[in-house]
């Protein structure tokens, strides 16, 4: 089977496109009646869904994989463990699942990229949801030890109180575009015309 499209996406680091590429290729192969399942890169497919935070599709893909394949590919089971932790919202558990397996070279690319993305997402979540948080919890959410976690957040502008082991969140002000351009005037004219008739 020709997986060049998938490999290309992987080597060009277009990880966010991989889920759609894999889905389309799978449907195409199935339509041709080719028995593709024993060759199919389910690990990459699963991780591709996880990368774009589509845990639902990852779950459905897992359910559709035959049991024999699940049993013969421990890497696949390990990849699903990440999905499971995301599904049950075991935020710290995700990191354990990422680190708990010796991934093959190809898979490692995708897993490492996801790990970085996930940490960034977790940090954004902490920033939006907390005003103060313990160093211990922050470390769990970010998948780092307490010292690294503290340094990471200090670099992002947070402050630390060493005695109480508490971090204070500093939100970055996000400036959103507010200027209007004249093209909108045409649209407003259309609305008024529509309302008048």
């Amino acid at each position: 089977m020709d997986f060049s499209v998938v490999n290309q996406a992987l080597s060009s680091k277009s990880f966010h496109k991989m889920a759609d590429i894999c889905d389309a290729l799978m449907l195409q192969s199935a339509a041709e009646g080719v028995p593709f399942r024993h060759e199919w890169p389910f690990v990459l497919h699963l991780l591709a869904h996880i990368y774009v935070d589509d845990v639902n599709s990852a779950r459905f893909l897992w359910k559709s994989i035959p049991a024999t394949i699940k049993e013969s590919q421990p890497e696949l089971v390990a990849a699903w463990k990440i999905g499971q932790k995301l599904w049950t919202r075991d935020y710290a558990g995700v990191y354990e699942a990422i680190r708990g397996f010796d991934w093959t070279q190809q898979t490692q690319l995708l897993v490492a990229a996801f790990s970085e993305l996930y940490t960034t997402r977790m940090f954004a979540l902490l920033q939006s949801a907390y005003s103060t948080i313990s160093i211990q919890d922050a470390a769990q959410f970010l998948g780092m030890n307490e010292e690294d976690a503290t340094n990471y957040v200090l670099q992002q502008g947070w402050t630390v109180d060493p005695t109480s082991r508490m971090l204070t969140v500093t939100k970055q002000a996000i400036v959103k575009e507010q200027k209007l351009d004249p093209g909108k005037l045409q649209r407003l004219t259309e609305y008024v015309f529509h309302l008048e008739h």
Partner: protein, 421 residues
């Protein structure tokens, strides 16, 4: 037979030739069906990408009879290839035959227990049969069914995102919206699921049908999950049959909804446990459980209406969670999903509830409002066109004429008291 093949090969070039070919094929249809077992070798002499109409007639006759397991696999492949290479303009001349072939394709794919094989071809078939993306065909529900069975929910969403304005057969709409509702539920898109299920339960129906009953059950549950409440009555535009009968036919669900509205999670869980078998036999137990866990969210949301700040311990007590840590995790999840605006202060163990920070001043928001207005304007124009068409419809005028007495004299001045055609 050979003569027919030659004619197909000769007359598939131009549009007018194809129309004459169609007449010949219609006349030959009965004999094709009579000799269906002899036909498969002739298919090889025809090119589906050039002789689509002729190929379709032959294919439809071939597949009309019972199909064995061995034949199923080769037929599935033949039909899939036909669908991908046929010419849309030609097959649209014989839509019923095309639909029959595709439905048999679906049946055979299911016989082989390989629903995934049918997904891509069925999608292609829809695109070729449709006159526009607003047109609902008989193949839409078949496609959604294949997606459901093969768990390709994401692929189904691309079709569900399209607005439908034209429907061939009412039954297609019922099934399409019901399956669509199930797929949206699977992807946790509850707003869309609610919209689709709403269409099923409020669609015109002279008698309540089984699809509407099952849809109503899910409708209640999704309503609880998405809105935290269930309206006790269907809107006035729902059919009278639906308004009278649906609730009685879905009694356990209606009672679940009223237990939910009392806000006590322990009572709700007891009710669910007691009626577990009924929910399970309807395949709705998972959805019921989602409804139950949505209650925590509802109760926390209610707190924001009364309090500016609250301790995590207080939240845990009021919402009947086991610990402040659990409360913290619930609030965190709700912040992540955008269901609440709040910040957690671990140092003091408090949560501060905030106002929606959206000021509606950004360019992004203006784009969103702008595109919503555009959509509304399009719908409004379409409604005007439909209104005009209906005002000229004889059946409508007859009914309006008959019921004239009920309305104001001025409204129907132009309609004679008895309107006979």
């Amino acid at each position: 037979m050979e003569g027919l093949v030659t004619q197909i090969q000769g007359l598939s070039g131009t549009a007018s030739d194809v129309l004459s070919l169609q007449n010949l094929l219609k006349q030959a249809d009965d004999s094709l069906h009579a000799e269906s077992t002899r036909l498969p070798p002739f298919l090889d002499q025809l090119d589906p990408s050039k002789h689509s109409l002729g190929y379709l007639y032959f294919l439809e006759a071939c597949t009309a009879g019972p199909v064995t397991q061995e034949q199923a696999s080769s037929f599935v492949l033949t039909i899939a290839r036909f669908i991908s290479s046929c010419v849309a303009e030609q097959i649209r001349l014989a839509p019923d035959k095309f639909i029959s072939v595709c439905k048999r394709f679906k049946d055979q794919v299911l016989l082989l227990e390989e629903p995934l094989r049918g997904v891509a071809p069925m999608l292609t078939a829809i695109r070729k049969l449709q006159l526009s993306s607003e047109h609902l065909t008989a193949l839409h529900p078949e496609f959604l069914l294949l997606c459901l069975l093969s768990k390709c929910y994401k692929t189904a969403l691309s079709i569900l995102d399209e607005d439908i304005f034209e429907v061939d057969q009412p039954r297609d709409l019922f099934l399409y919206c019901y399956y669509g509702g199930m797929i949206s539920i699977g992807q946790k898109q509850f707003r869309k699921a609610l919209e689709l299920l709403h269409n099923v339960v409020t669609a015109p129906m002279s008698t309540v049908n089984a699809i509407a009953v099952e849809a109503f059950k899910k409708y209640i549950l999704v309503s609880l999950i998405h809105h935290g409440q269930f309206p006790t009555n269907l809107p006035k535009y729902a059919s009278s049959g639906a308004q009278r009968n649906l609730k009685t036919l879905c009694q356990p669900y209606v009672e679940l909804a009223s237990s939910y509205s009392n806000g006590k999670i322990a009572d709700l869980e007891t009710y669910v446990e007691a009626n577990k078998d009924k929910f399970e036999s309807d395949n709705n137990l998972g959805l019921v459980k989602q409804a139950v866990s949505s209650m925590y969210k509802r109760n926390i949301q209610r707190l924001t209406q009364t309090y500016l700040t609250l301790s995590l311990q207080d939240i845990a007590n009021r919402v009947q969670l086991n610990s402040p840590k659990e409360a913290e995790m619930h609030v965190l999840q709700m912040i992540k999903d955008g269901e609440i605006y709040a910040t957690i202060n671990q140092k003091d163990g408090m949560v501060r509830f905030l106002e929606d920070p959206e000021q509606y001043k950004t360019c992004e928001m203006i784009e969103r409002i702008g595109s919503s207005i555009q959509r509304l304007m399009t719908v409004s124009k379409k409604l005007n066109v439909m209104d005009e068409l209906m005002s000229c419809d004889p059946l409508y005028l007859a009914k309006a004429g008959r019921e004239r007495q009920r309305f104001d004299f001025d409204d129907f001045d132009n309609v004679p008291p008895r309107y006979n055609i």
